[in-house]
């Protein structure tokens, strides 16, 4: 499966990139496990996530073609 990943704000700066594409040999993976797969460690505290532009949780399942976003707590408008 192929997943598009976005990072925003402080996290985007720390990662040194805004986007990446993840290729995985499975049919689904949780948002938290996707982070571990990409970065080799546990998701940071207070990490916020979205799947297909809807707020999600670390146990939300991601499937082929999905868009996943990781970001720090929002500041608000």
């Amino acid at each position: 499966m192929t997943v598009t990943v976005h990072y925003f704000a402080r996290l985007r700066e720390e990662m040194g990139r805004a986007d990446e594409t993840a290729e995985l040999p499975t049919e689904s993976i949780s948002v938290g496990d996707l982070w571990r797969h990409l970065h080799g460690d546990a998701p940071p505290e207070r990490l916020m996530v979205a799947v297909n532009q809807e707020q999600a949780a670390l146990d939300t399942l991601v499937r082929d073609g999905d868009e996943v976003a990781y970001f720090p707590p929002v500041t608000g408008g």
């Binding site: 976005h6 925003f8 704000a9 402080r10 985007r12 979205a50 532009q53 809807e54 976003a69 970001f71 720090p72 707590p73 929002v74 500041t75 608000g76 408008g77």
Partner: protein, 145 residues
Amino acid sequence: MAVELYSEDFDPWALVARAERDIPAQARGAASVFVGRMRDFNEDDTVTGLFLEHYPGMTERELERIVAEAESRWPLLGCLVAHRVGDVRPGDALVLVATWSAHRIAARDACSDILERLKHEAPFWKRERLADGSDRWVEKNTPGF
């Protein structure tokens, strides 16, 4: 209902005037308008610029959800939310919330509700540029008072 994001300075009062033309004058007994602009200070520091990051697509969707929920709670004749994104200078308009209703309480309460929810829930991130040239990410919005 309209949600608009602007990457350049916008004139909130021109947007209000434009939106009002779509609402029958005889019906709109009340309009409530909030305009927020960028200050040149925050937490005792001089701020010379602001970068307002958003999540294209999701930010619009979240703002539309907030407006739709207000429309389901109050009898509104119209609602306009405009928000700035990108590099902002002190004095620029940051946010406009305008609501129209037959009566004042619906217009005023809906405007206030949309504004407060937008200030807490909408996917925006702020990075301030300080007078000494350094940058800092804002952790949370200041209380409204």
